[in-house]
Assembly symmetry: C2
Homo-oligomer: 461 residues x 2
């Protein structure tokens, strides 16, 4: 049998496993600027909203039913639900819920959704060990830095091979966050990263199935377990990431070590996190944004609209050209429905992609009067939107970068509106408002119990 002895990883690679472990174990609490600190709170708010919003989805019901086969102990919360499960299962389930709507955060440099694996593991553990809000925020910032730096190191080759990079780097971020919460110290943190390095989760072929959101959930659980094993003296290679038969070579061809070390402790990857304003593929966001802008700027009502003319990049119609979607899921691939929703409701959150909204007569009537033309002079990130009113007015906007992009981040008010759209149907508006406040002030909280309590639905009488 001919063996291939190709070695991709440089045998003189810097000791990045150890470097990351030292960083996670020793970086000072809140050792970053106010912008990073603020983004951490926004990341958590967005993550809680996505998790609570999907808490009753069939994906989550199926995963929870499997977890209950283990008769788990009641250690930690599932956001948006009343059941309590062991911390490993809570990490798994919150990771699943937060990615179920595909509405969570995105580190655009790598397409990693960083909060799912990291925050899901960290919150479950924080609840169990009674960590402070400060400790949780620190763990999330550092854990996301680990995931995203490893992602930068191996992207795009790793992704192009077929890995769902969120789950195949997220176990490292989750392990780092949990090691930090457990105050493991540098040596055991390196072991936690090493154990996690053997457990990448996720192939892209799963996109479109329930296994896609399993990936961040599985990574959260794997990272948490790795930290607990390291705590009790379990060992791994101290060079698990960089060695010749380690993570980098086994899961990728590209290994840019500088991405681990450059500006470590100075530049934080969470600062580049972004949040989706609309619950659908990123390619139709500029068109929806244009519709929402025109509606707001001109106080447009749907019944004033004669027709809509879109000019978009060809990719938009290739991916989202469904003219007559019948279900909410199909509607996520219809630029027509999405723009109609933007004009009728002024938003396009998960609620606007429900089966009921897709079947509404006023939405269908408007949708059928939207025409889209391909113009490849227009960038993928842009859209040209014209609304022709029944009274003859032509209202026009050109969107160069959609809301939610790095160039035009969602404001705090935008994020809070998104949060209400997700959380109000599950917990009610008052609870949602309380959660928004608790997320904003989390770093000063004595523990995380108030937050998890607010995310628990009031039992029906």
């Amino acid at each position: 049998m001919a063996h291939n002895t190709r070695v991709t990883a440089d045998s003189n690679a810097p000791p990045v496993t150890r470097i990351l472990a030292d960083f996670v174990a020793t970086h000072p609490a809140q050792g970053w600027d106010a912008g990073v600190e603020k983004e951490a709170h926004r990341t958590l708010l967005n993550w809680v909203g996505c998790a609570v919003g999907a808490a009753r989805h069939p994906t989550v019901e199926a995963a929870l039913a499997a977890v209950l086969e283990f008769s788990p102990s009641a250690q930690a919360s599932i956001l948006g639900r009343g059941e309590r499960v062991d911390i490993g299962s809570a990490a798994l389930l919150n990771g699943i819920t937060s990615h179920t709507f595909d509405f969570d955060d995105t580190h655009l440099k790598t397409i990693i959704h960083p909060a799912g694996p990291v925050a899901s593991a960290a919150l479950a553990l924080a609840e169990h060990v009674d960590a402070t809000g400060r400790q949780l925020v620190d763990a999330v910032v550092l854990g996301i830095d680990v995931s995203c730096r490893v992602g930068n190191m191996i992207y795009p080759d790793h992704y192009d091979r077929g890995w769902h990079i969120t789950g195949s780097t997220g176990m490292l971020g989750a392990a780092a966050a949990c090691a930090r919460l457990l105050s493991l110290g540098a040596d055991k943190t390196a072991m936690a990263l090493g154990i996690a390095a053997s457990q990448p989760i996720g192939i892209r072929e799963q996109f479109g199935s329930m296994t896609k959101p399993f990936h961040p959930g599985g990574a959260a659980r794997a990272g948490l377990m790795s930290a607990l094993m390291a705590k009790h003296g379990y060992t791994a290679s101290m060079r698990a990431i960089e060695a010749q038969r380690g993570l980098a070579q086994t899961y990728s061809t590209k290994c840019d070590w500088n991405e681990i070390t450059d500006g470590l402790g100075q530049r934080f990857e969470i600062a580049f996190n972004s949040y989706k304003p609309f619950a659908c593929g990123i390619v139709i966001h500029p068109s929806i944004d244009g519709c929402v802008q025109l509606r707001a700027g001109h106080r447009l009502r749907a019944d004033e609209i004669e027709r809509v003319e879109l000019k978009v990049h060809s990719l938009v119609l290739e991916l989202t050209g469904k003219t007559a979607p019948r279900t909410g899921l199909e509607a996520k691939f219809s630029v027509y429905h999405a723009c109609a929703a933007g004009l009728v409701f002024g938003q396009a959150g998960e609620a606007e992609f429900s089966d009921g909204v897709v079947a509404r007569a006023d939405v269908i009537a408007l949708r059928d009067r939207i025409k889209a033309a391909v113009d490849d002079a227009i960038d993928e990130a842009a859209a040209d939107v014209t609304v022709i009113c029944k009274d003859g007015r032509r209202l026009h906007v050109f969107v160069e970068h959609a809301i939610g992009s790095v160039e035009r981040p969602m404001t705090d008010a935008d994020l809070q509106r998104k949060f209400h759209g997700l959380v109000d149907p599950v917990l009610g508006a008052a609870r949602a408002e309380r959660l928004i406040g608790q997320c904003a002030t989390l770093s000063g909280a004595a523990d995380v119990r108030a937050l998890t309590a607010s995310a628990r639905p009031i039992p029906r009488a």
Copy 2:
């Protein structure tokens, strides 16, 4: 950012996920010849022995301590221990124990250790759902066939990249075995395989650390969880193994689909399983075997021996040339200690690689009179052994294939002797003998409770 759009997997690949699922779900109970049935029982005996033998190893203590952080419910047994844990944790821990001594079974075509992931998951579930012995044996044969066929499909490229192939195919075998035990039917079995396909475990850099035996344990747990999720309606891609961004392409370059389909249901990979007679690297097995043969054939006592002359392939000294090992672990890399043990004790099991035996004066005295010369005319699988006695006799044997190889399989008596060596120190000889009988008659057992009860130590008064 330049993306690599290379596609390794054939877009016209046969639907191997579906083919394997149909096979696992519908193949008749005991649908194979007596040789396969017998090998299944030998595989289980060897696996139980390895698991019980290592049950008190520090690796297992650390892993169990981490598991206990979840306050698991008492659903299933850890072989060789008194604690009971949830079925997922039992699968994990039995997978760890069975590989801790590196003394478990080997599918030589792929270097997969197949029982660890598959039997560990299957026994935990069988205990919980009260399966019959017949159902357990069927699940193990079919699960091992799935792991090893997928291994054949992607070996050696997959292994050469850095994957520890036992854990990176074992999750599929474990999922298959558990799907069979749960009678999921073909559709849900395909989902179980699909969910598992996202969870490969293990990089070779971990060799020498506790994370190596974690790999079969983690794969066992992942496969069990995948089957439970599928049972409750969780979905995955129906083409998770063969699709363009599926398992085969993401984890390998070589994808030989014929290895899945050729003789499926006719040829069973468990028939090619082998068992290590000696608790050390395979490269010194021929030399030890020669020493054991000379000792038995001439009723040699160590004090009769003047010196020993070995002729071996250069690889033997490259990998195992330590002349003065100080610990049991070092002694596993010493052809000198290993041969001395073979001559003194007539065997070289885990006990003969203990720190105490390595430090014994008689062992050291003999070890220092063993000389090894490189002769590359001798194959890696062979050894030339000459013992020169104090009375002038020259005793010689040339070992072409060591005991334990496919050419010279261990006999049932050999396996039972190995089993006693592993199990007697933990459970006593009487319990060990009872377990040997229970493994031999497992396919006729009404349930697996008697077996797991026998593998539980009697509590100290």
